[in-house]
């Protein structure tokens, strides 16, 4: 047996499972960066210079590190929620819409209660975001459990409903009368340090161990993982499968909604078009790249945030199209999935 692929991968397969789980994504990342270098070279730019610019833009100084942290925050929160959903084999593709509705609900609380003391108001806004996202996801969960409607389709479609509903709300009922732009009045900002790092960052970081414990150290997490592993066996073991599907969906929706209100209150400041920047979709990649483990999701969220922020710097200083960064992100996921598939095949042969 002298296939080149096994020569490379057989030593990898001898490593312990946890090390493999860490090494494979890194290998995927490196290969994706190499492939990206090829694309950059095709665009007529020196790849090394471009990547240097990318790194400076992502982590070259305190300002860049702050920006990366701010961008990683919503990705991390969404990715953690989706980790729970995907672990339960609930394919929630609707974080984007749940994020939007969460932002909308939290924003409405802020706009409707101008006279509530700040700490209480912030708490109410965050809770409204959680509930809004959960309800939006709950719709898809209900359709799945009651009528066996595929959640991939329903959550995806609900994204569009949420998006246009937000546009309508920003244009009509919530429109700031003092502005001629289609946007709401100002949302109460989250408490933040002078360098703009806000409490949402702390919340996201606290959620990492919380989701880890929930998933691996409580019976609730055991149920979710059991359903995700094999729903028939879970049913045999006395677990009510549809209940787990609903709770996993609600949980992932709630976190997406929380990310939405945190982002809008801390940074965007108003409800308007473009509050999301595709966080809901990038969050899916973050969860998968983080191999559905909270610690991995943290790394993946930071990695994606660096890639995004660095790409802008790269485009400015090295004249590389921003689209290259998006391509590299997609390549990372593809390479990691490919490495995974290869590992599975080697296990089988």
């Amino acid at each position: 047996m002298t296939h080149a692929s096994t020569l490379i991968t057989r030593p990898v397969m001898r490593l312990p499972a946890w090390l493999r789980a860490v090494l494979l994504p890194i290998l995927g990342g490196v290969l994706a960066l190499l492939a990206g270098a090829l694309l950059i070279a095709l665009a007529g730019v020196d790849p090394l210079a471009a990547y240097a610019a990318l790194f400076r833009g992502a982590a070259g100084g305190p300002r860049q590190l702050t920006e990366t942290t701010l961008l990683a925050t919503p990705l991390l929160i969404i990715g953690l929620g989706l980790t729970v959903a995907f672990r339960s084999q609930v394919w929630n593709i609707g974080a984007e819409g749940q994020y939007t509705i969460g932002a909308l609900c939290g924003g409405i609380v802020s706009l409707a209660l101008p006279n509530v003391p700040l700490p209480l108001l912030v708490a109410l806004m965050l809770i409204a975001g959680l509930i809004g996202g959960a309800l939006w996801a709950g719709l898809a969960a209900l359709l799945k459990v009651r009528s066996n409607i595929n959640e991939i389709i329903s959550t995806l479609m609900l994204n569009y409903v949420a998006y246009y509903f937000l546009l309508f709300m920003a244009r009509e009922p919530l429109k700031d009368p003092s502005s001629y732009l289609p946007q709401s009045g100002k949302i109460v900002p989250l408490p933040a340090l002078p360098n703009r790092l806000h409490i949402g960052v702390a919340i996201a970081l606290i959620l990492v161990p919380v989701v880890y414990v929930l998933l691996f150290k409580t019976p609730t997490g055991f149920r979710w993982r059991a359903v995700g592993s094999n729903p028939n066996v879970a049913r045999y073991a006395g677990i009510r499968v549809s209940r787990q599907i609903v709770t996993a969906m609600l949980f992932s929706g709630a976190l997406a909604g929380l990310a939405g209100i945190i982002q809008v209150a801390a940074l965007t400041g108003r409800l308007k078009d473009g509050i999301s920047g595709n966080f809901g979709f990038t969050g899916i990649l973050v969860a998968l790249l983080g191999r559905l483990h909270p610690a991995g999701v943290l790394v993946a969220a930071v990695f994606f945030a660096m890639l995004n922020n660095g790409a802008e710097a790269m485009s400015v200083s090295a004249k590389v199209p921003v689209a290259i960064a998006t391509v590299i992100q997609a390549l990372v996921v593809l390479f990691i999935l490919a490495a995974d598939a290869l590992a599975q095949r080697l296990r089988a042969v």
């Binding site: 691996f216 150290k217 019976p219 045999y236």
Partner: protein
């Protein structure tokens, strides 16, 4: 015949899966026109060896010669081109296609890009059927055929593709006694017409009945190759297991007490919503084993899942220890004293990617001592797992090994350990020894007898008539979802039961 090359010659075959050495320098010679049995316990490496031969697995070392020519297959397709055919344990047929469509599937058509003319295909199939005594209807849809007929289609498919050498992996596991004897005569007929047959089995009776030579494997190595006529079943069993084996389980007379499982006029639908159980009634008393005999597909799967609460009951009553449980959730039945060992071990009873320890706690993970104050206590789960692993002799590298990596016998011991550890009052076990080797079978059967003697009521659903005769105190014959009669085990003859299993009233 030193001048005639061997049909199949395998030399020093090595195949590893991770750290497991599945084939350890295995040699195998098969002469043209013979029926050779590859005999061994489960996990001995028989199927692995054949998958290597058939190109499904790549070998780590060794040579394969077909008719004296060295070959190196990268896929089953290449093996088929070289005249090999394999009938797997699980049939590889498209159920919604007809027999003819299944046969031409993947075959080049002479009228490319159109399919071959139907009447040409039918004519060829009919010619083949007649030649080998394999009656099938070319136009019949495969999903409408019985298991035995589907197997004939598989054999026919291999022959249609020009197979000279046929590999059959445990072909009799799914057949009725009558179908088994039909199959064995078909195999003899094929051999008589120059085909070579490799017959994988762990059943001594069949191997003795129809083969020319027997190669015995154990622990990934060939132990011996013997001529069938010059060996006794006891000698073969010793070669397989490596020690003396008793074929009958010693058990005392049952001391039945009150009925604890009552089923009255039970109607249950199958997945296609056709009635699979039609008004079945029976009782199982504490301290006895009621065996449900029958050919696979006569309602057994529906019976076990309905009793466990995994399939809705259309009509009728299920009573556990006096409580009506007809519509109860699985968990409520467990709490009422039911334990269930399903026939579909990996499909229903085990989470493959969970650890052995988590699987052992699967039915009670959210209760004391495994969960306290809302958190799982891994120490309690692991402690219990270590106790059960040693008590039930589950061979596993560690309790954190994934359950999917256990061998069939050890996976079954795990499920059994979990069920018996609760001291259930009612135990429903289905196909408890399917796919298990002689040693593990003996072990499982002893444990069942012990549970009976402790006072458990056991419903044993099995398609192995020998197993039912061995273990049961009373025997119910199930045919097309109906009870054909209940007999005392010591008064029932295999012949009568076989007739009833085939639907003929004695």
């Amino acid at each position: 015949m030193p001048n005639q090359p061997l049909a199949v010659q395998m030399r020093g075959i090595v195949k590893r899966f991770g750290t497991l050495l599945a084939n350890d320098h295995v040699d195998l010679d098969v002469q043209r026109g013979e029926v050779l049995a590859l005999l061994g316990e489960n996990g001995a490496g028989k199927t692995t060896l054949m998958n290597v031969l058939y190109g499904l697995y790549s070998r780590d070392a060794g040579d394969i010669l077909l008719d004296g020519q060295p070959v190196h297959f990268h896929s089953a397709h290449e093996a088929i081109v070289h005249g090999l055919g394999m009938v797997h344990q699980h049939f590889m047929l498209v159920p919604t296609f007809t027999v003819a469509e299944n046969l031409i599937l993947g075959q080049p058509s002479p009228r490319h890009p159109l399919l071959e003319r139907q009447r040409d295909v039918y004519r060829r199939i009919e010619a083949l059927s007649a030649r080998y005594g394999l009656q099938v209807e070319p136009g019949a849809q495969v999903s409408q055929l019985s298991v035995g007929q589907q197997q004939r289609v598989e054999i026919l498919k291999a022959l249609y593709r020009g197979a000279k050498t046929l590999i059959l992996d445990e072909p009799t596991a799914v057949l009725t006694p009558q179908e088994v004897s039909d199959l064995l005569s078909i195999l003899r007929n094929l051999a008589a017409r120059g085909h070579t047959i490799i017959f994988i089995s762990h059943k001594l009776k069949e191997v003795m009945a129809c083969t020319d030579r027997i190669t015995v494997m154990r622990d990934g190595r060939t132990v011996n190759t013997v001529e069938t006529g010059k060996v006794t079943p006891a000698e073969l069993a010793r070669m397989m297991v490596g020690r003396e084996v008793t074929f009958r389980i010693d058990k005392s007379l049952a001391q039945p007490r009150d009925p604890v499982l009552r089923v009255v006029d039970l109607w249950v639908d199958d997945d296609r919503e056709l009635p699979a159980l039609r008004g079945l009634s029976f009782e199982v008393r504490a301290g006895e084993i009621l065996g449900v005999a029958g050919v696979e597909g006569n309602g057994q799967a529906e019976l076990e899942t309905a009793l466990a609460g995994l399939r809705p009951v259309k009509r009728g009553l299920i009573q556990l220890c006096g409580q009506d449980m007809t519509a109860a959730l699985p968990r409520a039945r467990v709490e009422a004293g039911l334990a269930y060992v399903p026939s579909d071990r990996y499909g229903l009873a085990l989470l493959r990617d969970f650890s052995v320890a988590d699987n052992l706690a699967l039915e009670a993970f959210d209760r004391l001592p495994y969960t306290r104050r809302g958190f799982l206590r891994q120490s309690a789960i692991d402690g219990q797992a270590r106790a059960l692993v040693s008590q039930y002799d589950i061979r596993t590298p560690s309790i954190s090994t994934r359950a999917g990596q256990l061998s069939g016998g050890n996976a079954q011991k795990l499920v059994l350990a979990r069920a018996l550890d609760r001291q259930p009052r009612v135990l429903v076990v289905a196909q408890p020894t399917r796919g298990l080797d002689v040693g593990a079978t003996e072990y499982v059967q002893r444990r069942l007898i012990e549970a009976r003697d402790r006072g458990a009521a056991i419903l044993l659903i099995s398609t192995e008539l020998d197993e039912i005769l061995n273990l049961a105190d009373r025997i119910l014959v199930l045919y097309e979802g109906e009870c054909m009669g209940v007999f005392d085990a010591n008064r029932a003859s295999p012949e009568t039961l076989g007739m009833l299993m085939a639907g003929r009233k004695a």
